[in-house]
Amino acid sequence: MAYLALTPRRRPLVARYPSIAIFLGILALFTVGVTVLAEGFGIGLISTSFVKTLGKTLCLCLVALAMDLVWGYCGILSLGHMAFFGIGGYAIGMWLMYARTELIVIESLAAAPLPPTPQEISDGIATQIFGVVGASEFPPIWSVAHSLPLQLAAVVLVPGVLALVFGWLAFRSRVTGVYLSILTQAMTLALSLYLFQNDSGLRGNNGLSGLQNLPGLDAIPQSTISIVFFWASAFALGLGYLVCAWVVSGKFGSVIRAIRDDEARARFLGYSVEAYKLFIFTFTAVIAGIAGALYYPQAGIINPAEIAPIASIYLAVWVAIGGRGKLYGAVIGAAFVSLLSSWFTGGQAPDINLGVYTIQWVDWWTILLGLSFVAVTLFAPRGIGGLFDLIAERRSPDRHGAALGPDAGALREKEADA
């Protein structure tokens, strides 16, 4: 990354891109607003469960940012980023479960006539955690679950290393385009199938639960914990946005966009395409892992269904609807679609009575979502974020055919034919 330092001194990032300041401003306002309205420290207009929903939505926005970086900017349609998100959740969930159970076990063993041996404590924790899935021994995968720093490191390292190895194998053998998408989907499927097995040592289908109860903090009400997690999520999103904006702003950003628009040309120009792709793939996997680690303590439970391939497809849907190739587009898409989804599937949307048939949104929302996705792909490749372009009058020059990429400079259909 030495070339970044070599670039001539320029105006600060935030000054060059006003959208960053606007975004951070809105995020800060939103955070303050929610804090004032919530139960924890404010006037209690917003229920704790809604604060949790908002906090989770911020985490989804963060993983959508990662998806936008890898797909919208680098052109790798990864259908595996929700797997990294899930791994982050599992990593933090293991510590949460272990530490909470350890406290319970030590307390209960204190009443025994003999002081407990380390083995007895460990057995007690194992029985508590794995009793529900019919086991009573710690699988090796839990060997560092007792240590918060190590598990926090795992939040970053496991997705990172997995992405690095997978990406290295895939990019090295020049697997690109749809092949890569299918391959990442297969990876996600394999991981979720693996976790579904009890033998995986992560409680199979049951997953890890009770994650909202932080160890040793039973006295603090959930209304407070939820708002703290909300702050953490907002902070992570703001920071993530800044870092992503920085990554895509300089020469590095130009190179990855070049790779997206024409990989072969970028390679002929002497850029090590594989290294760039590998960096972006791994970096975004790490962001996804962090987002997951913040998300699941708010959701309370993580299980393999969360990693199923469909989750990653929805992630792509959010980014596409929000507008890929623009960081704020990804955030808008994730927030808009996921909140709308929960509104529709939550049964709150009013049914539409057509006389002969009543449209119940619980049943029809998914169809609407699927079709609107098709429509966005066909007619509005720039998504909702494209609307901002219209407002800002940043219209593209008159060129021929539909855009093949989301950017103004992207190759055009007619040009590709030529």
Partner: protein
């Protein structure tokens, strides 16, 4: 008021009816008396206690005994809740029964169902009754009844059946039944004959026979028991401690069980012993609070043992010493040595053949699975392999085909006819859906493969939910015609269901169809031209739009037919497409895009791989799927263009 009157009237009628029944029934008939003596056991209806009742009936020599046993077995016997008298009964309507006398079977009249209780012998009792009925049925003029008797013997053989069977062989006219009787006679000889030589002869006659029943008869004869003594007695087989047959722990457990060695002190027992010896927060002078490791506990326990207050710890050295003092050996427990050895020899002979046949069965299973994958993937081999279009809604086309079959069966009750109708209909429906998808979505995205993938995902999500809205989330039945029921049985090990054979045949048929269409028809020629160079093809007068539409429709239509076949063997749900989509893509990618033989090879590899892993790890089928996908991911890393890679220009298209 009126209601009360009606109730009263009904009551009077009921009393009258049951009164009538009691009059007409022969309460003192010998069969009724016999049943009454065992009334308690019969009413309790438990296999544990029913034996004497069935034996008494079978041995009674009464004319009615056979009928009683038979109708009892058919759940047609009831008893009066008040008097306890047994009757035969049939339901006249929801609330009344038509009664028949157990003696003679004459009609008694009708009675309200409420005052009678039905005897419901469970299948354990039913097979005991069946065994008792054998003596009546073995020489029956009706071959079906004789077959029933043979079934009963197979399920619940008794020593008495052997003589009965021997007497019934010569008179048997039906050659099929005769073979069965002879075989059964030899099996029973192995189990029940007194004379060792006849038993050994019967055992030897089964050499190489793969029947499960043969192994079921032989295996109990070679049961062994492991014992330990100072010397190995004659005729026993010595065992080595630490071998697979006798692990160290098992050997020591035998010694403990024989009281030849002290039991090891378990951690739990150790803890209990310590707890029992706590005095003023001390054990043997050591503070309890210091006992925070296992070693510390063991040391204190050692101190207690030294004082003789607890049993001493058994160390590994003690165990070794005890084991060395004894010789371990196995003895046959359920048959004389000669018989057991003959049985063992025959079993060994059979086992070798069994292993061979198991492999054959595994290969059949793998082929079957491969044909299913191939069938699911062949449509994709056209749309993805030939046209290069990613269609993630392919799985949903399979689902549409299956649901078409289900709908057809709703209207056409005849299963054969409905399947014959469903296949072209499924093709038509999915062909139309494919054409619509191509016209509305895909043709706008030919230059944007990633977008095609996403858009078809959207279609896939929408179609799945649509199916849920229409058909619900529960699995729907798609029933195969009767002639596809059952399986083709080569022997007791190698068998495959007809439906799987049909799918296999269908897969081959599609392969032929594909090859024919692509290589021998004008459409195929045009398709190949358009895929290789659309502009050139267009200037030769081919309409690429039309060709693309037709090809896509053709691929989708084949997916629809595959859906019918898959629905027949498994289930029809809105999510069945997702079960196959990733595997199908893997099949095509592994095989090599653009080559149907590659897809065939890919399917074979994926299918046999999955079966192979399942065989290695039979207790966890899920693991097989995971490892298979991992393997495929790795495979693609090293052979990104698949098993059969296109070369030259075609590869770049």
């Amino acid at each position: 008021m009126l209601f009360v009157l009606r109730r009263l009237l009904a009551g009077v009628l009921m009393v009258a009816a049951s009164g009538l029944a009691a009059v007409a029934q022969d309460t003192d008939a010998p069969i009724q008396t016999l049943l009454q003596t065992h009334a308690e056991a019969i009413a309790k209806s438990s296999r544990k206690t029913i034996g004497p009742a069935i034996d008494a009936l079978a041995a009674s020599g009464l004319d009615d005994a056979q009928t009683v046993l038979q109708r009892w077995q058919d759940k047609e016997m009831w008893f009066d809740k008040e008097t306890g008298l047994f009757v035969f009964a049939e339901k006249a309507d929801n609330k009344t029964l038509t009664l028949f006398d157990v003696a003679g079977g004459g009609t008694i009249g009708t009675a309200p169902k409420k005052s009678y209780k039905q005897l419901k012998p469970n299948s354990g009792i039913r097979s005991m009754i069946g065994a008792a009925l054998v003596q009546f049925q073995l020489n029956s003029p009706d071959p079906l009844t004789r077959a029933t008797a043979l079934n009963a013997i197979e399920r619940e053989a008794e020593a008495s059946h052997l003589t009965a069977l021997r007497g019934a062989i010569d008179s048997e006219e039906n050659p099929f039944l005769k073979t069965r009787k002879i075989r059964l006679e030899r099996l029973l000889t192995i189990r029940f004959a007194e004379d060792d030589d006849t038993r050994i002869a019967a055992i030897k006659s089964f050499a190489g026979d793969l029947g499960v029943d043969v192994r079921a008869a032989l295996n109990p004869l070679v049961a062994t028991r492991i014992e330990a003594a100072r010397d190995v007695p004659e005729g026993a087989m010595p065992l080595k401690v630490g071998s697979d047959a006798l692990p160290r722990d098992a050997a020591y457990a035998i010694l403990v069980a024989q009281d030849d060695a002290p039991a090891r002190v378990s951690p739990g027992a150790l803890r209990d012993a310590l707890v029992a010896n706590i005095k003023d927060d001390q054990i043997a002078g050591i503070q309890v609070a210091t006992l925070v490791t296992d070693e510390a506990r063991a040391d204190v326990y050692g101190l207690l043992a030294g004082e003789g207050r607890v049993a001493p710890l058994v160390t590994e050295a003690d165990v070794t010493a005890s084991l060395e003092r004894f010789r371990f050996f196995a003895t046959y427990t359920s048959a004389p040595l000669a018989v057991a050895l003959a049985a063992q020899a025959t079993l060994d002979d059979i086992e070798a053949t069994v292993a061979l046949n198991q492999t054959a069965d595994l290969v059949l299973d793998a082929l079957s699975l491969a044909s299913i994958y191939f069938l699911a993937a062949i449509g994709l081999a056209i749309t993805f392999g030939v046209m290069g279009v990613i269609n993630m809604a392919h799985g949903e086309f399979i689902m549409m085909g299956a649901y078409t079959g289900y709908v057809v069966q709703l209207f056409v009750p005849d299963y054969t006819l409905s399947i014959l109708l469903a296949i072209p209909l499924a093709f038509a429906v999915t062909f139309a859906a494919g054409v619509a998808l191509e016209r509305l979505v895909i043709r706008w995205l030919y230059h944007r493969p990633l977008e095609t993938l996403l858009a078809t995902f959207g279609v896939s999500i929408a179609l799945q939910q649509l199916a849920k809205n229409i058909f619900g989330t529960q699995a729907r039945p798609l029933t195969a015609p009767g002639w596809l029921d059952g399986s083709w049985v080569l022997n007791d090990i190698v068998s495959i269901s007809y439906i799987r054979i049909a799918i296999f045949a269908l897969a081959l048929l599609f392969l032929a169809l594909f090859l024919f269409v692509m290589n021998r028809t004008r459409l195929g020629l045009e398709v190949r031209a358009v895929t290789q160079n659309p502009r050139m093809a267009a200037s030769m007068g081919i309409n690429p739009d039309r060709i693309n539409m037709l090809t896509f429709g053709f691929g989708s239509g084949i997916a629809g037919i595959a859906g019918v076949a898959i629905g027949l063997y498994a289930k029809v749900t809105s999510e069945m497409g997702t079960d196959y989509i990733v595997q199908s893509f893997m099949t095509v990618v592994v095989g090599g895009v653009g080559n149907i033989w590659g897809t065939l090879l890919g399917a074979t590899m994926v299918g046999s791989l999955q079966k192979g892993i399942e065989w290695l790890n039979p207790s966890n089928t899920l693991a097989a799927q995971t490892y298979m996908i991992l393997f495929i991911i790795l495979f693609i890393q090293f052979r990104p263009r698949g098993i059969i890679a296109l070369k030259g220009r075609a590869a770049e298209a």
